[in-house]
Symmetry: C2
Subunit: 208 residues, 2 copies
Amino acid sequence: MKQIPDEVIRRLPLYLRTLDALYDEGETRISSGQLCRRLHLKASQLRQDLSWFGDYSQQAFTYDIDALRHELGRILGTHEEFSAILVGPGKIGTALLEHFDFIVDGYSVLGVFDKAPGLVGQEVAGVPVYDIETLGDFVREHKIDIAIMTVPRFAAQDVADTLIPAGIRAIWNFTNQDLRIGDADVVVENIHFSDSLLALNYYLAKKN
Amino acid sequence: MKQIPDEVIRRLPLYLRTLDALYDEGETRISSGQLCRRLHLKASQLRQDLSWFGDYSQQAFTYDIDALRHELGRILGTHEEFSAILVGPGKIGTALLEHFDFIVDGYSVLGVFDKAPGLVGQEVAGVPVYDIETLGDFVREHKIDIAIMTVPRFAAQDVADTLIPAGIRAIWNFTNQDLRIGDADVVVENIHFSDSLLALNYYLAKKN
DNA sequence: TAGATTGTTAATCGATTAACAATC
DNA sequence: TAGATTGTTAATCGATTAACAATC
């Protein structure tokens, strides 16, 4: 089987979200056509996407909403347990921490790391704050899976250079700085606010 | 000429960012090959992308970094002046406000809108806070271009339903809720934290 | 059963990559 | 000039869409 395209993976959360909403509305079954009309996608695309993951339906019958959303959750690994840390408890970092278990269950945030000595020893959103000097050792000792990076842009690569040799497995990067990870086997997921706003700006300016 | 693919537009901020960094390092010229080695892209892709926008170089000679970054800025409309508001001054909203002019110049943030009466009349990051009841009128009167939506998820569609008939032209949506905009001519740019984290989660879980 | 819907194969479309003449 | 690099055309690749037999 060929590699599943990233485009397909990126649509799964959308499907999951929509099915969750339908479930909350009390719906029990839906056809690919009905679902995709809501999403402005082609029904054949949904069916094609699902076909990457095997057969979770009864052919020629509509999808069982509850079964399919659980299946999508399983595919996306929402039942897995991962350990996480946050580096850079500014406003965005703190906001993420406070809403974290709204996003994915099964994450334990074990520590927050800050450079300023003021916060060290205190807690942010119930998580203890440590000195950033101890970051590498902490990741190594606790076998941390995911680092959430919300440090200022100029500090981003330094932090990555500490995390990667310490064995981090994934970085959720909010710094708008592209990280060089060498040949390390690290999953990097970027949220580049600035790129997003520039794209919006382009489309808006074009309409003028 | 055919429609410029969205994929191309999404790469322009990356090019711009990289050229800015090179400029700051004191570089003056660069070839498509050198630039793309840094970005893990194919040189032919960069050249193909730029060819959508006409000819800003001297054929068979390397690119002038300063000229090209200005050209990209012009294409993306960074010199345009837009008016903006923020709806929902929570932690993320406030963080965005505080860093806003780091992202794009030429934006004036004219107001912040909140539901809780506590903040109304005060300022957030130097911007006055108004009651959300007055949102529609404000957008209409001031001909606001862009709304930054950082409200809780359940409130998102209601806010959009107020903004759109008031003539908003773009929504930068942080709510993880897909907005129904009907047939309105509104640019919607989503930052779906949750989808991003689910994608990261998928790739990480797959490695287990 | 007849109508509806699926999973999957095949066709289409468009993005990426390679190739190369034009140019410095 | 010879070597390097561009812009652009053509080839390739892969994602999206359509079509349809299988199935309920």
